[in-house]
Every structure is written in C-alpha cells, then in structure tokens.
C-alpha cells in the first residue's frame, strides 16, 4: 500500500473546475516534484491533499487516500490530528506563516503544545531548540529569542522546515520552498530537504517552477498545464526523454549556463 494515493482528483472553485483528473502515488522516502507555470494548478493539488483549499475551493471528484484511508471523509477534528503530525507543509516564505510580533521560540512552543497537549513548556522549548539545531541553524538558543524580522530568508525557511518536521511527519508538502531565495541559499535549503527525507524517511511533494531543482531533488516528476497533468513519470524519463510538447517547451526555455547566447 502506498502512503499517498490520489485517484482522478478534480478540484473546483465554486462551479468552475480548475484541476482535472490528477493521479499520483507516493511512498515513504520518495520525492515527487510538481512543475508547471503559474496558474497551472500545482499548489491547488497539494492544498487539496492538506485539506486547506482556500475560499470556495473543494474536491469535486476522485479520492485522496492517505495510508489507505480517504481524507475526504475527514471531519475537522481528524484534520487537526493529521496536519502537523502525519503530514505538514513548508511555504514559499515561512516568514509569512509565523507571527511577526512574537518570538520564534514562543510560537514554536505553542505549536508543539497544541499538537501534543501533554508536553510541558520546558520540554517543548528543548525539543524546539534541538530541532533548530538539527536544521543547521547556528546558535539555536538565540534564534528562539529572536523575532522573524531578525532572521534572513534562508534562516526563516529553516525555521519553517524545523516546525514542519518536529513530529516526524510521514508526508512533507513544500510549496515553492526556495522561490524567494538566492541561489546559494536555495542550494542550502534543497540539501536540507533531501537530508530531512533521508533522516525521517518521509515522502515529499515539492511544488516548484524551477526545473533544475526538480531534476536534482525528485524521483518522480509531474508536469501540469492549465489544471491538467500533461506528463508524469520517473525523473530520468521526464527530463531525459520528455514526450509531451509542453514538457519539451519548458525544458527548452530554461537558460542553461554555457548555452548559446540569445544575441548570437
């Protein structure tokens, strides 16, 4: 049994169907990259898996099975148990996810205590600091005392990953986790996500528009266009032998260092 099994998923906003017929299956330790242009529905798919479609968004067809159990039947309480502990999410800028007027430590402790009500505050603090350290943040005790604006983009993203991984979830969803970062920081964060996959044997779905990142990190790649999956398969196949015209167009559009200059 696969950890995650999405079967002919369709998603609608109001009466307008935006995502059609998505199939995907993922096991622990695997990384799936969803690539495509803005508006292609990549983020909508992972939001549906997490049960957090915004506004009038709803799953209008198909099914999402997590460990063999349909998530669509979940009541509010079931989602609360699942999110954060069994699956969690990293956002494009974790700085927007955390409260700007509270220190990192105080919200991290809140987060832990909310999800595991038995935990004492002191213990939660220690867990949080250990996790920040595991994410290679220098001087975790100081970062716990700091406010989000005092951290760099890369540091905030590491805090986001630390919060997402604190309960060792089986599934990690990452929505453009490096798009707001510089190339050197992007490389650090992508390596961190690979380490997290190795250490926790988690399944990862990463949404990105950077085909280089997808090619580096993923076992499987899914290409979306206008709400449809146009091509999906193992990384080697999609990158090495793309079959759909759109995949070829995307691959062809990436500026390659050392390639033919545009002005030639």
């Amino acid at each position: 049994m696969m950890l995650l099994d999405v079967k002919s998923l369709a998603i609608s906003y109001g009466s307008h169907r935006t995502v059609h017929d998505v199939d995907l299956a993922l096991d622990r330790g695997e990384i799936l990259a969803i690539v495509g242009e803005s508006g292609s529905g990549k983020t909508t798919v992972i939001r549906a898996i997490m049960g957090c479609l915004p506004g009038t968004g709803r799953v209008s067809g198909g099914d999402i099975l997590f460990e063999g159990k349909s998530l669509l039947q979940n009541a509010r309480e079931d989602w609360r148990k699942l999110c954060g502990q069994e699956m969690s999410m990293i956002f494009q800028d974790s700085g927007n996810m955390i409260n700007p007027i509270r220190s990192i430590g105080s919200q991290f402790v809140d987060y832990i205590v909310t999800h595991e009500p038995g935990t004492g505050k002191g213990e939660a603090w220690r867990m949080a600091a250990d996790m920040l350290k595991a994410m290679q943040l220098p001087n975790p005790e100081r970062i716990m005392e700091e406010y989000p604006f005092e951290l760099s983009g890369g540091q905030r993203q590491r805090v986001g990953i630390a919060m997402a991984m604190i309960f060792s979830p089986k599934l990690l969803l990452a929505d453009e986790p490096t798009s707001a970062l510089d190339v050197t920081t992007q490389a650090q964060i992508i390596r961190q996500i690979v380490d997290v996959r190795n250490d926790y044997n988690a399944a990862v779905i990463i949404v990105t528009h950077n085909l280089g990142v997808a090619s580096y990190i993923a076992n499987k790649i899914m290409v979306m266009q206008d709400g449809h999956v146009v091509e999906a398969g193992p990384r080697e196949q999609v990158i090495g032998h793309p079959r759909h015209e759109y995949t070829k167009l995307l691959l062809d559009s990436v500026p390659v260092i050392g390639g033919t200059c545009y002005y030639e």
Partner: protein, 327 residues
C-alpha cells in the same frame, strides 16, 4: 582604474556610459553607515548588454537607483553624453532621463491600473511634448506592434493582460522615447520560464534593431550568461569580478563567482552529482570588517584577506578580479 577607462573590449562598440567609482552610503539612525555600493566602475557599450549579478543585498538595485538619480550618490561619476549626469539638475536632469529608461520587475505594479494601454505607452512622449493628443492612437498601435502585441490592446486596461503581455507593455513604454540605455531591474524574474525566454528574445531583437544598450540586473546566472555581453558580479556593494570579454560560464575565476556557479541547479544534472552550497548567509553590510568582503564564506581565505581589501586587478585582457588568491 584609469586603465579600465581607456580599454574597450566590446569589439568596435563605443562606450555610451562610464560608471566611475560610484559609491552610495546610507546613514542609519544609530549613526552607523551602510555601504551599498563601494567604488563601482563599469562601462556600458552601445548596442550591448551589461549584466549585473549577485545575491540580494549585494547592491545591484542601489547601483541602478543611483545611476538614475532616484537617490543622490555619495561619491563618483556617471559619464553619459559627455557629462557627469549626477551633477545635472532640473530640466537638464529631465532630458537625461529621456535617454535612460527603465523596465521594472513587477509588471503589475509598474502601471496605473486606471489608465488605458494607449495612454500608458505614450505617456512618456506626451510628458516630453513630443506627441499630439490626436496621434496617440496611431503611435500606441505602432509601439504595441514593435513589442509583438496586437494593436487592439490599446483600448484595454493592464489588468486584462497576462504577466508576459504586461512586461511587453513595459518594454514598449521604455522604448517610446528611443532611449540609449534601458535599465532592466529583474525584468524577467517574475515571469515563467517560457515567457521569460520570449521576453529575452524580444529584448535581443529590439537591441539589434535599435542599437539600444541594456543594463541588465538579475540573479539568475544562466540568464545573465545567455543575455549579456559584459558581466559584473557584485557582493556586498563591491564588484568582485568584471568580465568585459568572455563568459561567466567559461571564464569566471573569483571564488565567489565559482560558488554561485556551483549552486545552480542544472536540468541535465547527472545522478550522484552533488550540489555545492556556500555555507552561511550574506553578512550585514553595516560595519563591514576590514579586508575582503567575502572573507567569512570564502574557501580560499588566507591571512592577507583579513588584513587588506583586494582591488580589482587585470588577470587577462578584459577580465578583472578582486581577489588576493587569483593570480
């Protein structure tokens, strides 16, 4: 530095703008100083593209803002059209701006949402009194055609256009005054890759037709490598490497440039190939330590790098590197 001013490595292309020792310091509330640009010297050649690349906070946007006189320079000169444009004031300054136009990063925020496309593209011409009201429609159609947009778009509003179309509109507006230089500050980084490619091809085509020069600011190494004739790599306000000839892909030698290259994810990467990530973050540009700005993250750092700030020195014709370790 004088040597740099004299030599030209862009074939026969004449220099249109010389940036000389341009420095911009900001005073902070606590009395400290932030050096955003430190003695930057660069040339822009006619009909060619100068790329400026670096991580966020490296001073690339401050550089163009200083050139465009959005804020005053602390020191240095920008020679254009036979004069130091940083000294121009009033009407003279306005006339200089006519020759240097800008394409912005966010094509949504760059336009007044309540103006029609035809008014947007012809506004610069109307401002300079170069276009009569009755000619607006014809001129707008002509400008839109130049950037490969349908002429019918002239009666639309920007919100009914896609990001790529809006960026074309931004280019049409910048070109309306027939400037010598267009500054593109991350002009394609908000766009999807396939759209980005189309916009770049359009920029190159227009450059060939009109012999306009671009000052192309970006953080995508691959893009700068393919777009630009000359490249400057900046770190904490300093030009670390300046390639007037040759390409970053094949010729860059500064350890920072190498680190940037190593951090790029290639689509055709081979299995097992590891990406090398530079450790740590860019340090704060306030109260920089003496010596090389890159000392804290450099794999080659030696004692001398803590003591003395390396100057740009010529390593081969048309190639300058600021590093003690590069001979």
């Amino acid at each position: 530095m004088n040597e740099m001013a004299q030599e030209s490595f862009a074939g026969k292309a004449p220099v249109v703008m010389q940036i000389r020792n341009l420095t911009k310091k900001f005073e902070l509330d606590n009395g400290k100083e932030l050096t955003a640009c430190d003695h930057v010297t660069l040339n822009v050649y006619q009909g060619q593209t100068l790329g400026v690349i670096g991580e966020s906070g490296c001073g690339k946007s401050t550089l163009v803002r200083t050139i465009l006189q959005i804020h005053p320079a602390t020191e240095g000169q920008v020679l254009f059209d036979g004069k130091d444009i940083l000294q121009c004031r009033g009407e003279e300054e306005r006339q200089v701006r006519r020759k240097i136009q800008m394409v912005f990063q966010d094509p949504t925020a760059a336009f007044n949402p309540k103006m029609r496309v035809k008014d947007i593209v012809t506004e610069p011409l109307r401002n300079f009194g170069l276009l009569k009201k009755e000619d607006v429609d014809a001129k707008a159609a002509e400008l839109l055609e130049m950037v490969e947009l349908p002429a019918e778009f002239k009666d639309r509003y920007p919100h009914s256009m896609s990001g790529g179309q809006r960026q074309r509109l931004g280019i049409a507006r910048a070109l309306s005054l027939e400037p010598d230089i267009i500054v593109c500050d991350e002009a394609t980084s908000a766009l999807d890759v396939s759209v980005q490619k189309n916009i770049c091809e359009l920029l190159v085509k227009l450059q060939k037709e009109k012999q306009v020069s671009y000052l192309f600011i970006a953080h995508d190494l691959g893009l700068v490598d393919l777009m630009c004739h000359q490249v400057a790599i900046m770190y904490l306000g300093n030009v670390m490497e300046w390639l007037e000839a040759g390409r970053i892909a094949f010729h860059c030698r500064h350890p920072y440039s190498q680190a940037l290259m190593d951090a790029v994810f290639k689509v055709d990467y081979h299995k097992g190939e590891k990406i090398k990530a530079l450790a740590g973050d860019v340090p704060s540009p306030v109260d920089l330590p003496q010596g090389c700005p890159f000392q804290g993250r450099c794999p080659l750092c030696q004692e001398i790098c803590h003591q003395e700030k390396p100057k740009l020195k010529k390593v081969e014709p048309g190639h300058w590197v600021a590093c003690h370790m590069v001979k």
